[in-house]
């Protein structure tokens, strides 16, 4: 791939990237979330068209307009979300769309035999007759790989293949990948787990913020070097004087464990406190339990252990109770969790108090007059650039949409603020506004927990930073002294490296 660029509204996802892979190797594509790895591979697989750049296969220029073109050229991709039909059997899924025929019927015998042949050759054992929904995730992944091999793919792109696997399944996958390579296949391995890169990859290409940082031979490199390439160099940290946090713990998590959507534990025995007037940052590579942590705190996910907010145990309390007792939440996804995009700005501003006086009369009728007044007030106070309180939330820019959430959450005098990726996708001005508001909360003695993938943001805002890795807290550092490199190592799970 040469000189590939791809723009999305407001971001350059890929900026003139050169990327090449040798036949018969496992090539890692590494980078933080949003670094542009998936975009680059989606271009190669024909899911996106590049704005600039060319793709060459075996020296010949290739036109890849859609996945069918890619498949014809021997390129296959296993997506993070498996593309399997749950009630069809393993065998039916593998041959789907390319069934062997005997007159007008599906030739089940030929189907079976060719799958057995493939699975023997590559050591990918599957029970052919079970429906997909009854087989474990690791086997589903094998089915995806078999699907590609059945279609004669030579170059396999695996998008974070280990994210959903247990450690044993990961070992199994690695054996398969090594076998595939010895059979002459080529593998591109998208990941942000450096240990895996060191274990099985031959080469590694690092992307950051849509740019190519470099390609290294894994044998000549180290995970420290890769970590540094991933997270980048230091930025100047603000030397702003802050008043010290109080010692009064407002939000306490005691031995919290919770299962993720796949049923595996995504959070394992997490304990920490956030004091009034303190900002605690949560760092970590995405997918290490951050989403689950936010959901547990919001009351959206069941958990084991105890969470107390201002000395009240939240275990059996409703989400409304949490809200009324001073928990404010800036959720991960602005569009699906933070806002009703089809609703008005005023409706979005009032959702956590519409039922209270003075917005609702005793009779249960909403007072639109009061609601509109309230909305106008917040629009001015938080500088929301919208066409009045009646504007539809979905028409606002990302920054202004986020301001609606900030206005709603911060105007209700919170005791604790949970901010998940509060500036994701925002431009610099909006980011500064959000940072300013969060620090203002700190000054108001609110206990702030901020979860972010942006290390600079964490360092700028936090007093302490905790690092999540595979659902555990693997380190706590002082935000005033920590370096990117230290955080990067902790995020990669290399706890020994930091004393």
């Amino acid at each position: 791939m040469r000189g590939i660029s791809k723009m999305f509204p407001g971001v350059i996802a890929n900026d003139r990237i050169d990327f090449s892979v040798e036949r018969g190797t496992i090539h890692a594509l590494v980078g933080e979330n949003g670094a542009g790895k998936s975009t680059l591979m989606r271009i190669l697989y024909g899911l996106y068209r590049p704005d600039e750049g060319e793709i060459f296969i075996e020296g010949k220029k290739a036109a890849i307009r859609n996945p069918q073109d890619a498949i014809r050229l021997g390129i296959g991709m296993v997506h993070q979300e498996f593309q399997l039909v749950p009630s069809l059997t393993v065998a039916e899924n593998i041959v789907l769309g390319n069934e062997p025929l005997k007159s007008i019927w599906v030739d089940r015998k030929a189907e079976k035999e060719s799958i057995i042949k493939l699975s023997k050759r590559f050591g990918l054992h599957v029970e052919q007759d079970l429906p997909i929904r009854e087989v474990p995730v690791g086997v589903q992944q094998r089915v995806e790989i078999l699907k590609l091999l059945y279609r004669k793919a030579q170059l396999l792109i695996l998008d974070e293949p280990t994210a959903v696997l247990t450690p044993q399944e990961v070992d199994g996958l690695f054996d398969v990948l090594k076998r595939l390579v010895t059979e002459g296949h080529t593998i591109i391995f998208i990941t942000h787990k450096l240990g895996e890169v060191m274990d099985i990859c031959d080469k590694a290409t690092v992307l950051r913020h849509g740019k190519l940082i470099g390609t290294v031979n894994v044998a000549d490199s180290s995970s420290t070097e890769l970590a540094r390439m991933m997270v980048g160099e230091e930025v100047l940290r603000p030397s702003e004087e802050r008043h010290p946090a109080s010692k009064e713990a407002k939000l306490i998590l005691d031995d919290i464990s919770a299962r993720g959507d796949r049923g595996l534990f995504a959070l394992k025995h997490i304990s920490f406190k956030v004091n009034a007037g303190e900002v605690v940052g949560i760092a970590g590579v995405e997918g290490n339990g951050q989403s689950e942590l936010v959901e547990v705190l919001s009351g959206l996910r069941e958990y084991e252990g105890m969470i107390t907010l201002a000395s009240v145990d939240l275990k059996t309390e409703s989400i409304r109770f949490r809200r009324e007792n001073g928990m404010a939440i800036i959720p991960e996804s602005r569009k699906t969790q933070g806002l009703n995009l089809l609703g008005k700005v005023s409706e979005n501003l009032i959702v956590n108090k519409y039922y209270q006086k003075p917005y609702s009369a005793k009779t249960g009728v909403l007072s639109w007059k009061r609601i509109t007044e309230f909305a106008k007030e917040l629009i001015v106070k938080y500088d929301i650039r919208a066409d009045g309180p009646d504007a539809v939330a979905g028409t606002l820019s990302g920054g202004n949409a986020q301001k609606i959430i900030l206005a709603r959450e911060l105007s209700s005098k919170p005791v604790a603020l949970i901010a998940a990726h509060p500036t994701r996708g925002l431009d610099i001005a909006a980011t500064q506004f959000v940072h300013h508001e969060i620090l203002h909360m700190r000054a108001e003695n609110v206990a702030v927990l901020i979860i972010s993938a942006d290390l600079d943001e964490l360092i700028t805002l936090s007093d302490r930073i905790l690092v999540l890795f595979e659902g555990r807290i693997v380190g706590e550092v002082d935000a005033r002294t920590v370096t990117h490199a230290q955080l990067g190592l902790l995020m990669a799970g290399l706890t020994d490296a930091v004393s």
């Binding site: 498996f82 593309q83 749950p86 789907l96 769309g97 007008i104 599906v106 699907k147």
Partner: protein
């Protein structure tokens, strides 16, 4: 004994349109586009069977017309729900209302009659006597001597089952219905599969209508389907969209329909009461299924 054979024979007779309509709805449910227009399609089939049959003086051509006309109606439904992404329920109801109104209107315009059109000149579809089975005492009286579409309806169950579970097209239908994106990435022409499933169902719905119009009788009356399409739909839910179980559901509802017809004769019970029976059974069974699925914690 005679009462029993009568009821069982009646069951198979009244199940015929249910089975055909049931398989039509089943195919639509398999591609996840539940064909709510089924009543309208059946009416279209019934109407065209009588009208074309009488006009050409040939009941077989009437049968052919019922399939073609119902498929034409299906094409409208398919266009709306597949290409124009209309809401299934709205499109289905619209088509049902359209069919009801249009056909009533055509009755007035073409035949100057309201409600019922009964050409005296048209023969019913022939009854079929099955050679050997006919001679066996009980079995002969139950299984032999039905109209041709009754046997076709049993074949339609076998056809649907083979199609779905033995052919690539059927596998693609199931894949498209359950996980459209996965089917698409596997290179399946999703749109074509959806159209095919709906159109095959349309032909069956037409036959279901034809059975009502030229199988049992030789007349068309407004609303002669009388909710049978919806009963077929209930059977599909009863059978979790599997051909065998769905057919069983159709037969079960057919049995109660035949029973209520029997109960109306010489029992002195007001006819409205037994007439409610099949529908009560539908409500009862669906409730039971819902409760059971809820207990098992699974959907559909």
């Amino acid at each position: 004994m005679e009462a029993l054979t009568n009821v069982l024979f009646g069951t198979l007779r009244v199940s015929t349109p249910l089975l055909l309509a049931g398989m039509a709805v089943l195919l639509s449910q398999q591609i996840n586009m539940l064909n709510i227009a089924i009543e309208g399609l059946m009416l279209a089939g019934a109407f065209s069977a009588v009208v074309v049959g009488a006009f050409l003086g040939n009941v077989w051509l009437g049968l052919l017309a019922s399939m073609l006309f119902a498929m034409l109606f299906t094409l409208i439904f398919a266009l709306f729900v597949i290409d124009l992404k209309a809401n299934l329920i709205v499109a289905g109801l619209a088509l049902n209302i359209l069919a009801g109104g249009l056909l009533a209107y055509l009755l007035v315009v073409w035949f100057n009659t309201r409600g019922v059109y009964s050409p005296g000149t048209l023969d019913k579809l022939p009854l079929i006597t099955i050679p050997i089975i006919d001679q066996i005492p009980f079995l002969g009286a139950v299984f032999s001597g039905h109209g041709v579409l009754t046997y076709v309806s049993w074949l339609s169950v076998i056809f649907t089952s083979l199609l779905l579970y033995r052919t690539p097209l059927g596998t693609h239908m199931r894949a498209v219905g359950e996980h459209k994106e996965a089917a698409e990435t596997a290179g399946i022409p999703v749109r074509r599969v959806q159209y095919t499933a709906l159109l095959i169902g349309g032909a069956m719905a037409g036959l279901a209508g034809a059975q009502l119009a030229i199988g049992d009788l030789t007349l068309f009356s407004e609303n002669m389907t009388n909710g049978r399409g919806f009963i077929a739909m209930a059977a599909v839910f009863f059978g979790a969209a599997r051909p065998g179980l769905t057919a069983l559901g159709c037969l079960l509802f057919g049995l109660f329909d035949a029973l209520q017809i029997r109960l109306q004769i010489g029992t002195g019970i007001p006819p409205q009461l037994p007439q409610m029976l099949p529908y009560l059974i539908v409500v009862g069974t669906l409730t039971m299924i819902a409760v059971r699925r809820k207990l098992k914690g699974t959907s559909i």
